[in-house]
């Protein structure tokens, strides 16, 4: 464990809170064999999207439902301990958590609600805050005052409470651990100013529709609607389908290089191509330029959190960026 920790920290060269160990390290030795059972929420349509890469090759693929990876005896870093990784997709978070508790699976995703549940024998692997939750305005809202008014109503601390305080409040696209200047972007509410801006708007412009891409984030959308109401804006939370005025979206940080990460986030959120910036000042300017006009309102950066069952030994199997690394994991039927 200690070796792996050191290696990952050396590789990413960032400060991470990537390891939360709820139980003492198992006094067992690594051995070959066994199947790691994983349940995830997404219904991936291609094996590469699942995220199992190093040391395993795909052997069974049922798009959107199930994927089975087998150990690659000829892997460059050597054969993994596990024989197979069996992944069930499109499994609701709540069911995943129950399955983990019942011992039907070994690795599950944990949402805020599931994270709160205290489960005996469960370990939690968490990445750095790499998931940006942000409000993204559609083209219909062309009045910047509307966007700014909504931005000023947001109580990010309350949103973070709804997220079980997992996240980091942020007004920036890149997290503080990655850019180092995120604190420079304001993230505090100013209801008076928001009310003043909203008062200048015609009545029709004060009504917006909002949808959350992830239904689990419905409570965040509700809170945003509540905050907006305090400023005289009417935000109706609608179903994800359709073409809402504002979307509560998630953008994943996929690179430890801030410039690449910013470009990725900008692309994901539909902000276009970000200016090339090598120096921190230029990167800051580029990010500020992207946020100019309030087309996107960053809310919070969240980590990727997994619950791990007692059969799983070794690890952690998650990098600070939330990627899977299962090469050094093994399973034991008897914990």
């Amino acid at each position: 464990m200690g070796l792996m920790w050191s290696r990952w920290c050396a590789a990413t060269e960032v400060i991470v809170s990537c390891l939360v160990v709820a139980a003492a390290p198992a006094a067992t030795r690594p051995h070959y064999g066994g199947t790691l059972r994983i349940e995830i929420l997404p219904a991936a349509q291609a094996p590469a999207a699942v995220g199992v890469t190093e040391g395993f090759i795909i052997t069974n693929w049922d798009p959107g439902l199930r994927a089975v990876f087998s150990a690659d005896d000829n892997a460059p870093g050597g054969r993994p301990f596990l024989d197979t990784i069996d992944i069930e997709m499109a499994r609701p978070l709540r069911d995943q958590s129950v399955d983990l508790e019942l011992g039907r699976t070994d690795l599950v995703e944990l949402g805020p609600n599931e994270l709160r549940r205290q489960t005996a024998g469960r370990r939690v692997w968490s990445s750095s805050p790499v998931r940006l939750m942000a409000l993204v305005f559609g083209p219909r809202i062309d009045d910047a005052r509307v966007r700014q008014a909504l931005a000023l109503t947001l109580d990010r601390a309350a949103l973070n409470v709804l997220l079980q305080r997992q996240g980091e409040i942020s007004g920036a696209l890149l997290p503080q651990w990655l850019s180092g200047y995120a604190f420079l972007f304001g993230a505090t509410a100013d209801i008076a100013k928001a009310r003043s801006l909203a008062g200048e708007l015609p009545a029709a412009a004060r009504t917006l529709s909002l949808s959350a891409d992830d239904p689990a984030m419905r409570s965040l959308a509700d809170r945003i609607a509540l905050n907006a109401r305090d400023a005289g804006l009417t935000v109706n939370v609608v179903a994800p389908s359709g073409n809402p005025d504002v979307r509560l979206s998630e953008a994943r940080i996929t690179s430890s290089d801030p410039a690449h990460a910013l470009a990725g986030v900008a692309a994901t959120l539909g902000l276009g191509e970000s200016p090339k910036a090598d120096a921190p000042e230029a990167l800051y300017a580029a990010e500020r330029a992207l946020l100019e006009g309030f087309r996107v309102i960053p809310l919070v950066h969240l980590p990727v959190v997994y619950g791990v069952g007692p059969r799983v030994k070794g690890g952690p199997g998650v990098t600070p960026l939330g990627e899977w690394r299962f090469g050094n994991l093994w399973v034991e039927d008897r914990p």
Partner: protein
């Protein structure tokens, strides 16, 4: 309409009216009784519902109290940072079957809200305003939820640990699920109007299945209850779709009007029962009326049969059968009437016989008087002439021849006069039976009038013939009818000694024909008119009084009818109606 028909109609109408009235009263009283029973049933159900409502409230208050007293509430109350419990209310509400649950800190800030998790941190100042929530029990309250506003039955409990306080406000939504969970008798339904908008909103009127049907019909009732703030009972709709509603106002803990509970009892059963009763009543009434008509027909037949016999007998008497009698079959009024009728006809026969005898005697006396009178007049000159001749023979023999010649001439003249008188009487006695043949009265009148032209001119009488040329022939004896017309014309001429106008008129009758002879003479008195056709009665100084008697006799022999209209000073009209 015959007496029997009229009687039958009266009986039938009386029976129908009686049956109808009985059915009407019976239906009204039955309906009243049923509606009374229905009203008592609904009242009982309303009371039962009220108890159920209160029981629900008590149950909610008990659950809320138990939550407030739970270890979970204690943990939240004493936690330095309650934010980890932001989702706790939903969990607790789920385990306690509450729709709404808010855990509120002592300063009024929401720690956790089951119905609106995003609302944590917001203030609920109304909770901190009241100190003794426990004694208040459950109450109605408008509650904001993410998708709007709802009405809820809410109770508040408080957990107090040292200086830390946690309010637990929990309840159940008054929605269709709540209504569906209420136990109601078959056929009844309960509706809830949630007064969540300034104006009546049909969508807020719900029943156990969702938005209530016919919401618009209930609007006046809802508004009436909201205005009066007391229970109102009203029937909505008509016919089988009508429904009686007990509308109960629902007020909140601040006595604000939050809704109206409507307990509906359909009147379909009652209406169907009434319809069935009406159908039965109509059937019974129809049968009763039919039976009444049959009985009336039988009764009227029994009643009218003797009357009918009496009528027939009276008709027979009128036809001249004066000896007609009816059978006396009863001792009632009809029987007495029959006996009286028989007595009357018997007396009529007796009187007629007596009258005939008296008239016969009178006629003979009149005949004798007339004969004596008529014969006496010629006899007196005969006697004088013979006595003159005797006196001349004895006293004046030289003049006897002269006297004899004059006397014999006088005797012959008077004898001729006597013969004429006797011939007239003989004619009257010998009136022959008419020999019927088709006769055109118009032609006959014209021809007869022509014969009198000279006489009329001499008498300065203007003749006017108003004769119907289209008159159809009638059956008559032309000779006798000519005699009739002649007599009437002569009478008219005699009636106008100073001249005047004689009008002869013929016209058609249906059936038959009419002949009228009018003069413009002095006219007759009513008494004279009455006696005019009596034989030997005359108003003239030289008449025998047989002319009009002969006219009446001829008309009678022709089955006709003669009448006279006269007005003193204006003239007289004789009118003869003859059948074909």
């Amino acid at each position: 309409m015959t007496f029997r028909t009229r009687l039958l109609l009266i009986f039938a109408v009386a029976v129908a009216a009686a049956v109808g009235l009985v059915e009407l009263v019976d239906s009204a009283r039955t309906r009243e009784a049923f509606e009374g029973v229905e009203a008592r049933r609904v009242d009982a159900i309303v009371v039962q519902f009220d108890r159920e409502f209160k029981r629900r409230g008590a149950e909610i208050a008990r659950v809320v109290e138990s939550i407030a007293a739970s270890a979970a509430a204690r943990d939240i109350a004493i936690a330095p940072d309650p934010s980890p419990y932001v989702d706790q209310a939903a969990v607790i509400a789920g385990t306690h079957a509450l729709d709404l649950l808010e855990l509120v800190a002592g300063d009024g800030a929401i720690v956790s809200s089951a119905e609106w998790p995003a609302r944590f941190g917001y203030k609920e100042d109304w909770l901190t305003a009241e100190q003794d929530w426990k004694s208040r029990g459950a109450f109605l309250k408008r509650e904001e939820v993410p998708d709007g506003v709802t009405l809820a039955l809410v109770a508040v409990g408080a957990a107090v640990y040292s200086d830390r306080r946690l309010y637990v406000a929990g309840g159940q939504k008054l929605d269709r699920e709540f209504l569906a969970s209420l136990v109601l008798p078959q056929g009844m339904r309960v509706l809830l109007y949630r007064n969540l908008n300034p104006q009546f909103a049909p969508s807020e009127l719900i029943d156990a299945a969702g938005p209530a049907a016919r919401a618009a019909e209930l609007r006046p009732l809802v508004e009436q209850v909201e205005s009066a703030r007391r229970q109102v009972i009203q029937t909505v709709g008509s016919g089988a779709t009508a429904e009686t509603f007990h509308a109960v106002p629902l007020t909140g803990y601040e006595n604000n009007m939050l809704g109206v509970l409507l307990i509906g009892s359909p009147r379909r059963d009652l209406v169907e029962l009434e319809a069935a009763m009406l159908k039965t009543a109509i059937f019974v009434a129809a049968a009763g009326i039919l039976m009444g008509i049959v009985l009336s027909w039988w009764a009227t037949a029994r009643i009218t049969r003797p009357v009918q016999r009496l009528a027939e007998s009276a008709g027979s008497v009128a036809a001249g059968n004066w000896g007609t009698t009816v059978e006396v079959a009863s001792t009632d009024e009809i029987g007495r009437l029959a006996r009286a009728f028989n007595r009357m006809t018997h007396e009529l026969v007796d009187q007629r016989e007596r009258l005939v005898q008296a008239e016969r005697v009178a006629a003979w006396r009149e005949l004798a008087r007339r004969l004596a009178h008529e014969l006496k007049n010629p006899l007196f000159p005969l006697q004088i002439t013979v006595e003159n001749m005797q006196r001349a023979r004895e006293n004046y023999p030289d003049q006897f021849d002269e006297v004899f010649r004059e006397g014999t001439a006088t005797l012959l003249a008077e004898l001729a006069n006597l013969k004429q008188i006797i011939a007239r009487f003989s004619d009257f006695a010998k009136m022959p039976a008419p020999e019927m043949q088709p006769v055109n009265l118009t032609e006959l009148a014209a021809e007869t009038l022509k014969l009198f032209e000279a006489q009329l001119a001499q008498a300065r009488v203007r003749a006017v013939a108003q004769l119907d040329s289209q008159l159809r022939p009638i059956s008559a004896d032309p000779e006798q009818m000519t005699r009739v017309l002649r007599n009437l014309i002569l009478n008219a001429i005699d009636a106008m000694p100073q001249g005047g106008t004689l009008t002869v008129r013929t016209l058609a009758l249906s059936p038959g024909a009419r002949l009228e002879v009018s003069d413009t003479g002095q006219g007759l008195t009513p008494e004279e008119c009455e006696r005019l056709f009596t034989p030997y009665y005359t108003t003239k100084t030289h008449g025998t009084g047989l002319g009009l008697a002969i006219v009446q006799s001829v008309v009678s022999d022709h089955k006709g009818r003669i009448s006279v209209d006269s007005e003193k000073g204006k003239g007289t009209t004789f009118r003869i109606d003859l059948a074909t």
